[in-house]
Amino acid sequence: MSDPMAEIKASFFIECEELLESLQDALSDLDEGADDGETINVVFRAVHSIKGGAGAFGLDALVAFAHRFETVLDELRAGRLDLTPEAVKLFFQAADLLADEIHAAREGSREPEAAEECLQALEALLGDRGAAHRADAEDETEAADFQPMGLALDLDFDFTPEDASPASFTLQFRPDGALYASGNEPLQLLRALAEIAEVSIMTDASAVPPLDALDPEENHLSWTVQITGDVTEDEIREVFEFVEDVCQIDISSMPKSSETPLPEQPELESEPSGDTDEDEKFEPDAEANGPGPVDPAPPPTNEIAEIATEAPARTPDPGPAEQQAEAAKPSAAQPAASNTAPAAEPGATVRVDIERIDRLVNLVGELVINQAMLAQSVTEAGLPPNSAVNTGLEAFMMLTRDIQDSVMMIRAQPVKPLFQRMARIVREASSAIGKDVRLKTEGETTEVDKTVIERLADPLTHMIRNAVDHGLETPDMREAAGKPREGVVILSAHHRSGRVVIEVSDDGGGIDRKKVFEKAIEKGLVASDAQLSDSEIDNLLFLPGFSTADLVSALSGRGVGMDVVKSSIQSLGGRISITSEPGKGSCFSISLPLTLAVLDGMVVNVAGETLVVPLSSILETATLTSEDIRALGPSTNVIHLRGAFVPLFDLGAELGYRGPKRSYSGDVVLLTAQEDGARSALVVDSILEQRQVVIKGLQQSYGHIPGVAAATILGDGQIALILDPADLVQTASGNTRAIDISLAG
C-alpha cells in the first residue's frame, strides 16, 4: 500500500476488469446482430482505454496486443471491414486473449501463447491493408507510451473545448432576499445554467457585513458567471424565468468581467472576504477567455488575485452568507469537473475490501442473536405487550432486519461476470471439439451472494463443458435430427421462492438412459435387475465412481465427476437436479440459498428438541386427522391431502430422538416441497414461531449430518439444528423406496 504507483496500477487493473466486461457485452450485442456504430465504438473504446492505461504503466506486451487489436477495430469502425460472424468470433477470441494479457501483466507471468496466432488471424481480415497497419502499429506503439491515463477521457463526449469558442456572455446575478423567501435557491439556478453551457462562476461575497450587522433575511451575495458555448441569451434568460422579479440579472454579450467588481472595489480592499476556491478558479478562466475579447481592465483581475491570497487569513464568519458561499461552491466546481470527467457516471460506487463487509456481516449476525436473546428475556420478564420496552424492541427488530437486508445486498453481486466467464468456456470448448455452439444467457442481473458466485465457478464450468461435450450432438448428427447445426446452451439465473435457481440446459440429444443404466450396472452401482424410473437413471450421473469412460472426451474428462459438482453445490447449501428429454436436450438445475448467513425459518419442537425448518421449503402446515393417514407398506404411511398422496415422515424418529409414534392423529405436519416438486409431510410436535436465524456452519466443527443443513443459536443461547428437508427425506428411513437412498439427487 505504501507504493502509490502500485495502488494506481491496482486500480487500473480493476478498471480493466470493467472495461473487459463492457467489451464482452458489446461483442455479445454484435454477435446478436447489433451492427450499429455505437456498439462498435464501445468495443473500440474499451480496447483503446486498456491500451492507454497500459501505456502509462509501461506494460509493453499488453500495449502491443491491444494496439493491433485496436487497429483492426478501427477499420471496422471506419466501415472498411465487414462484420461477418467469423470476424465476431475472432473478436471474441481476441477479447479473451486480451483478458489473458491483462492477467499476465498483473501477475507478471508469461503472456498467452496463442496471442500472435490470433492477431495474425485478425489482421488477415484486413487483407492487404493489414501489412501496412502492421508497420504502423510498431510506430504507434511507441506513441501510445506517452498517452497519459486515457481511461475515462477518451469518450466521444460532446463538449466544447475551452479554447475553441470565446466567452459569449457575462451574467451578473444578484438575488434579492425575496428570492430565498420564495423558496428558490441560487445554487439550483447556477447548476441549471451549467447544464446548458460551459460556465465559470465567481462568487462575490464582498458585500457581506460583519456578523453583528448581518440581516439574515437579506441577501449579500452576488455571482458573476462567464458563459461559454452554444447558447443564446434567451436560453439563459429562461433559466432565470421564474426569479426575474426577485433578482437582478444583467446579461451582456461581451465579457465584462472588468465591470463586475468595480462598484465594490473599495470594499474589496478594506474587507476582503469570499470564497477563495471560486476566485482562484475564476482567475485562470478569465485568462482562458483571453483569445476572445481581451480583458480591457486589468485592475479588477488583480483585485481578485489579491483576494485569493488574502482570503485564507480571514476568520470564517458563520452565518447565512457563509452557507450561501458554501452552496455556491459546488456549482462553480461543477464545470471544472465536467472538463476532466465528461463520462456520464452510472451512479457513484465505492470499492470496499470484502473483509470489511464480511466483518459487518458477522457483526450483524451477532446482532440478530443478541436481539433474539433480548426479546426472550423481555418475554420472560412478563412485561405487557404494549409497554414501551416492547414497542421499542419491535422497532429494534425491524431495524435489525433492515440492516441485515442491506448488508446482504452489499454482498450480493450480479451473476453477470460469472456468466461471461462461462461464455468463454463455451467458446473454448466448442472450438476444441468442433461444434457450433451458441450460449444464451438469461437473468444476468440476478444477484447472488459473492461467496456463492465464487464457489459456483468450478461446478458451473464443469457443467457447461459437459453440456457442450456430451449434451450437444455433432453438427452432422443435429442436421440429421432436423435441428439447426448450431447447438444452443442456455445459462439462466432467476430467483424462485427465496432461492436462486441457476440452470444449464442444452438442446442436444438428452441423456442416453439405456447407456447410463448399462454403465451403472457394469460399474456395480446398481443391481442389473433394478427397476429404475427415468429420473432415477438420470440421477445415476451424480454417483461417485460413475465414470463415463467411453463417453468422455479429452475435454470434460478432467477428473471432476458430476459427484464432485454435486458435493460442491451441496456444500453451498444448494441442490442439483436433472431433467432430460430424449432428442430435445437436458437441463441441470442448481438451487441455492440467497445468502449463506441468515435464513427465515420456522422454529418447531420435536421430542423436546428445538429445530429450525427453512421457511422457503415449507408449503403449508396442517393438523392430521386419522382419516388423512393411510398405510403404505409395513412401516410407512402416506397422507391424503386434497387428492394427492404425500409420504409421511416423523422428524422425531428420523432424527433418532424417539421411535415412531403409534398414532399421528392430531399431530402437526409441515408440508415441504423439493426442487423437483416432490412433496413430503414432516411430523413435528408443535410449531413455536417463525423468525430469522443466523446460520452457523457445522461442516467445519463437526462434519456433514444427513438431513441437517447447519445450526443456529436461539434466543436462550441454545443451539438448534437447521434442517434440510430435501436431504432429510432422501436419507429418511421410513421410506419404502429404498433405491432413493443410494440415488439421492
Binding site: E366, I369, E609, T610, E654, L655, G656, Y657, K696, G697, L698, S701, Y702, G703, I705, P706, G707, V708, A711, I713, G717, Q718, I719, A720, L721
Partner: protein, 156 residues
Amino acid sequence: MTEDTTPQNDAAEVELLSFRLGEEEYSVDIMSVREIRGWTRATPLPHAPAFIRGVINLRGTVLPVVDLSIRLGMEPVAGDARNVIIVVQVGSQTAGLLVDAVSDILALPRSEMQSPPDLNADISQRYISALTIVDGRMIRILDLTSVLPQEAIEAA
C-alpha cells in the same frame, strides 16, 4: 502409538490438566486446553455416534462436545452441575470434552512419561499416549487427535 500429542517442546517439564472419569484419572497437555466450562446441555446431533454428546454455543460458535467417558468405553457422564466441559484445541479443530470433574494441574518431568503397554484388546488404550505415576496414582495422558470427533467420523 502416536506420540504426536505429547508435548513437542524441549522443556524437560510438561504441564498436565488432570480430570476424573468415573474412578479413573486422565490428563491432557495443558497447552491444548483453551478453557474449562461448567456443564450446559448440549443439543444432540442426529445420526451421530454415541460419544458425541451434541453441540453447545461457545460465544457464538458451534462447539461439538465429546462424552469422553463413552469414548473410552465407560458409562456415560451423568451430565449434572458438577460435570465440566474442557474446551481443547488440536490444530485447527476445537471441541469440548465432557468429564466428571477436573482435579489438578500437574507439572511432571518428561522423563517420567512411560509408553503404554501394547494391549490390543483394550479399546481405550488407543486413545492413550503415555502413562505416569503421581503420588502412587496412575495418570493416563490422552492422545487428543484420536479422541476428537472428526477422527471418529472418518473412522466410523
